[in-house]
Assembly symmetry: C2
Homo-oligomer: 239 residues x 2
DNA sequence: GGACGCAGATGTGAATACACTTCTAGCAAG
DNA sequence: CTTGCTAGAAGTGTATTCACATCTGCGTCC
C-alpha cells in the first residue's frame, strides 16, 4: 500500500509542490495571507530552495500571487474571479465535449457510463462531500479525455483544482441528486452523437449555480475562519 | 524612453524568464535539446538559482519539460501537439468571442475595428512576417479581452506564445491577404450581435490551416537547423 | 572479442550563506 | 500628541557550496 520504499521520489520539490498546493486549494493557507518562506520550509522539513521552486510553479499556475520583494501570497477569494473560472470551465468542457462526440468510441462512452452509474451508489450526506466531489471531477476529466486533446485536459485539471474549495462548499448542500442523472443523460446524447443536445445539457449542468457563487463564497469564508474540515482532510491525505 | 534607470527590476529571475522563454519560443534552444544550467546561467550573467526559477515557471506553463535528475529540455516540435494547441486555441477564441458578443460595447468594437483597419496598411512581404504576426496576436488578444474573462485571456496569451514559431512559419507564406478582411468581417458580425455567424467565421479563420501543420513543422525544422531568423530577431529585442 | 563493472567526470537537486529591501518600533523634534 | 526619522529586525532575492545521481570511457573478466 505504501509505496515510499520503492519510490523515494528524488525530488522533494515535487512533494512540497503537492503539499503547498493542497494547502492553497483548501485554504489552509488563508486567502490574501502572505507566505513566510522560512517558516513554511521548516514546517515542511525542507530548505527554502525546493519550497521556492514549488511556490514559483504554483504562482505560474494561478494558485498564488508573486510580488517583488514581498514574496508570495495566496490568491484572495474573489467572487469575480471564481465566476470567471466557472465560466471558463463551462466553455472548456463544452468544447471538449463536442470533440469527444466526434471522436469517442462507443466502448469508451459505455465504460464511462458504467463509472457514472456506479458513482450513484455513493452516500450523499454532508460527510462524503469530498468523495462525491472527487468522483464528479473524475467523471468530467474522463469525459474531457475523450476529446483526445491533452492540453484541454491539462487546463481542465488546473481549473478544477482552483475552484475545488468552492465546489466542495456547494456539494455539501446536497445538490447532488440531479447531478448523477445529468451525467448519464449527457452520455446518452453523446452515444446518440447528438453534440448539440449534449453541449446544451453540459452548459446548464455547469452554469446552473453561477448566480449563487457570491453566497457560496460567503459560506467559504465562514468555513475558512471557523474550522475548515476540508483542509483537515486534505492534510491527512498528503502529509 | 528608456526606463531602466528608474526601474532596476529587482528580480533578475523575471528578466531571465523572459529571455529563456524567447529562446524556447523561437527555438533558439533546439527542440528536444537538454538545457545545461551552468552554461546557460553563465551566458545570461546570473547564477543558477534565478535561472532555475525561470525554468520552473516555463515548465509549469508547458514550454519546457522537466525530468528528474536530468533537468529541463525544450519541448520537441511534435505535430500532434501543435494540432492540439491549434484546436484548443480555436475553441478558446470562439468561446471568448461568444461572450464578447454579449458584453462588448459598440464603442469597444469600433475601436478594435479601427485597429484592424490600420493593420491593413502594413507591408506584406517576407521580411515583415514577425510584425504581421504580432499585429494578428494583438487583434485576437484584444478581442478576447472583450469577453471580460481574464483567465481566458491569460490562457490565450500562453497558447499564442507556444504556437508562435509555427504561425510565424505560416505567415511567411503570404497567406495574410484574406486575414485582415476576415478580422473586419468578424467584427461586423459582432457589431450586429450575430454570435453564430461570428463564431463560425472565427472557427474557419483559425482552423483553416490545420491540415497543413505537418508541412509547416517540416518547414520549421528546416528553419531551425539552417538559420532561424526569428530567433535572431527576438534576441535583438530581448537581450 | 564482447559484456560487465568500476572509477572519474559531468550535471542536477538541495542546503547554506550572503546581500539587499521592506517593515517596525522607538525616539526626537515640532 | 503627532509626525518624521532612524536603527534594528524580519524576510525575500541571489550566490555559493555541498550532496548525490547519471553518464562516459576504459579496463578486466569470462
Amino acid at each position: 500500500m505504501n509505496d515510499e520504499p520503492q519510490t523515494p521520489p528524488s525530488r522533494s520539490a515535487d512533494r512540497v509542490y503537492d503539499q503547498v498546493k493542497a494547502m492553497a486549494v483548501t485554504y489552509r493557507l488563508r486567502p490574501g495571507e502572505r507566505v513566510n518562506e522560512v517558516e513554511l520550509a521548516r514546517s515542511l522539513g525542507v530548505s527554502r530552495t525546493p519550497l521556492r521552486e514549488a511556490l514559483n510553479r504554483l504562482a505560474a499556475e494561478g494558485f498564488l500571487i508573486a510580488t517583488v520583494n514581498r514574496g508570495y501570497s495566496v490568491r484572495p477569494l474573489d467572487p469575480k474571479r471564481v465566476l470567471t473560472l466557472y465560466e471558463y470551465r463551462a466553455m472548456l468542457e463544452v468544447g471538449a465535449l463536442r470533440l469527444a462526440c466526434e471522436r469517442a468510441s462507443d466502448e469508451a462512452l459505455d465504460a464511462l457510463a458504467a463509472f457514472a452509474a456506479r458513482s450513484r451508489d455513493e452516500p450523499d450526506d454532508d460527510e462524503h462531500a469530498l468523495e462525491l466531489l472527487t468522483l464528479d471531477e473524475q467523471f468530467h476529466e474522463s469525459l474531457a479525455r475523450l476529446s483526445d486533446n491533452e492540453e484541454m485536459v491539462r487546463s481542465l485539471r488546473s481549473l478544477n483544482e482552483r475552484v475545488r474549495f468552492i465546489r466542495w462548499i456547494d456539494m455539501r448542500k446536497g445538490r447532488r441528486s440531479s447531478t448523477q442523472d445529468e451525467h448519464l443523460m449527457i452520455l446518452r446524447h453523446l452515444r446518440a452523437r447528438d453534440a448539440d443536445a449534449a453541449a446544451a445539457l453540459m452548459q446548464t449542468h455547469i452554469a446552473r449555480r453561477l448566480d449563487q457563487i457570491t453566497d457560496m463564497i460567503r459560506a467559504g469564508f465562514a468555513e475558512i475562519y471557523t474550522g475548515n474540515a476540508l483542509a483537515a482532510k486534505a492534510m491527512g491525505e498528503v502529509a
